[in-house]
């Protein structure tokens, strides 16, 4: 199911934005070269919103414990992040970022 999430331009380059939908929460990413990605919003190690974290290249670092994930694949990149993140397809249409949350 595709969801109209946010204005694509609302996400700064090489940064992350939190997006809540009902009980669910997501993290939306924009790379330096304007590619967009989406993952679950909470770190798999602890219940911390990744949107407070730090984006460097294709890696998101959790703001609480520095757990690192490749947000393009969801891959956990070492302790304390040991479980991969779920990722979601994205597309940009008319300046809006859509996320397929199915």
């Amino acid at each position: 199911m595709w969801i109209d999430a946010v204005n694509a331009a609302d996400i700064a380059r090489e940064d992350v934005l939190r997006f809540d939908l009902g009980e669910r929460t997501f993290a939306l990413y924009r790379t330096q070269d304007d590619r967009y990605f989406a993952t679950d919003g909470l770190c798999t190690h602890a219940k911390v919103h990744l949107a407070g974290g730090f984006v460097l290249d294709q890696v998101i670092e959790c703001p609480k414990h520095n757990g690192r994930f490749n947000f393009t694949t969801g891959q956990a990149m070492g302790a304390p992040a040991c479980v991969n993140l779920k990722t979601y397809p994205t597309k940009v249409e008319a300046g809006r970022l859509w996320v397929n949350i199915a």
């Binding site: 700064a12 940064d15 939908l21 219940k47 460097l56 609480k64 302790a79 304390p80």
Partner: protein, 357 residues
């Protein structure tokens, strides 16, 4: 609540663990000072330059003082270089261990991991268990029954603290754990925060550490000299005193079971030499609140947040003028603690910046 008659149980497997969960103190949401995302992003930027410079200087100082120690070995003069070498080895390794654990010292990941393994050995902390211990410390800072790194449980063990100046309390404990790990076992407390997937690494590293120590001892026996141990192993003890002087300022005597780092951490102003030795961990409130900010940016972060912080301490002396009387009083009144004065601008707990949705 703690009373003079009933000290609390600081173990991670006792009733306080369950109680912390029931009170909503475990894995909870903490107070966060407001800072514009764009500015925080600037401060979180990683750089290799400062840490390469600082680490090369550290290595150079270790080599110079270690060499001088060897050259003067057998004379009273050897005390001078080994005093400095010991502090560089046994105390400065603590802050290097800490910053590389967070992988914020360098931009390049392998540099952080290499420094972390080296500093872990030097400071006598096994790298894998202590990574998980420190992770828990950041999740549940000074929450009794949850935080494995509460340095001064109440009532304070003053003899134990005195022994800690030369790691005579923690050192034997670490060797005991190392031996336990080398046989493929964890303590019950460690089992609560080290995941199964990480445990083989714990056991492997413990065997490596012990093999290194045995090799150093064998070298000493073969050469009939204590010098090898003065260079590797023993500095973790005789050089640990500054680690404790710095480390006690972080949380000792402050509140337990609060979800606000401004109430259970200290920020202490220090001169540039001490800040180099301590890698800016004197900005401890800031570090706990925003652990992604590298050590070299913590001073700038402090400037951004200080209006929403309690007054920082003007130096080690100012901090210890509070810590020493507090710990002495806690020996008789464990419930007593320092109550930090928050500025009027403080927001309610949990009122973190709102997300876009």
């Amino acid at each position: 609540m703690p009373t003079a008659l009933a000290p609390r149980d600081y173990s991670l497997t006792g009733p306080e663990n369950r109680r912390a969960g029931e009170r909503g103190l475990a894995d909870a949401e903490w107070y966060t000072c407001l800072i514009p995302r764009s500015r925080l992003k600037e401060l979180m930027q990683r750089r290799d330059g400062p840490a390469i410079r600082d680490t090369l200087l550290w290595f150079a100082l270790l080599i110079i003082t270690g060499t001088l120690g060897c050259l003067t070995w057998g004379t009273w003069w050897t005390i001078l270089p080994f005093t400095v070498y010991g502090v560089l080895y046994g105390s400065c390794s603590d802050s290097r261990w800490h910053e590389s654990l967070h992988r914020t010292a360098f931009k390049t990941v392998w540099m952080n991991d290499a420094l972390y393994e080296l500093a872990s050995f030097m400071v006598l902390r096994e790298s894998v268990p202590w990574r998980w211990s420190h992770t828990r410390h950041h999740t549940d800072t000074i929450i009794v029954g949850r935080d494995p790194e509460i340095a001064v449980p109440r009532p304070p063990d003053l003899l134990g603290l005195a022994l800690s100046f030369f790691s005579l309390k923690s050192g034997p404990r670490e060797f005991h754990r190392m031996t336990l790990h080398s046989f493929g076992r964890l303590t019950p407390g460690e089992a609560t925060y080290i995941p199964e997937i990480e445990r083989p690494k714990v056991y492997r590293n413990a065997r490596i550490y012990l093999a290194i120590y045995l090799a150093v001892i064998a070298t000493g026996v073969a050469t009939r000299s204590f010098l090898p141990l003065m260079l590797v192993g023993f500095p973790s003890f005789y050089g640990a005193w500054l680690l404790l002087v710095f480390g006690l300022t972080q949380h000792a005597g402050l509140a337990e079971d609060v979800l606000d780092h401004r109430l259970n951490c200290r920020t202490v102003y220090m001169n540039p030499v001490l800040r180099y030795l301590y890698w800016e961990m004197n900005y401890h409130v800031e570090h706990h609140m925003f652990p992604l900010v590298p050590y070299h940016a913590l001073g700038h972060l402090h400037q951004e947040l200080k209006a929403d912080m309690p007054k920082p301490y003007d130096g080690l002396w100012a901090a210890y003028r509070e810590i020493i009387p507090t710990l002495l009083r806690q020996t008789k009144d464990p419930a007593y603690h320092v109550q930090r004065l928050l500025p009027a601008s403080a927001r309610a707990l949990g009122s973190t910046p709102q997300p876009a949705s």
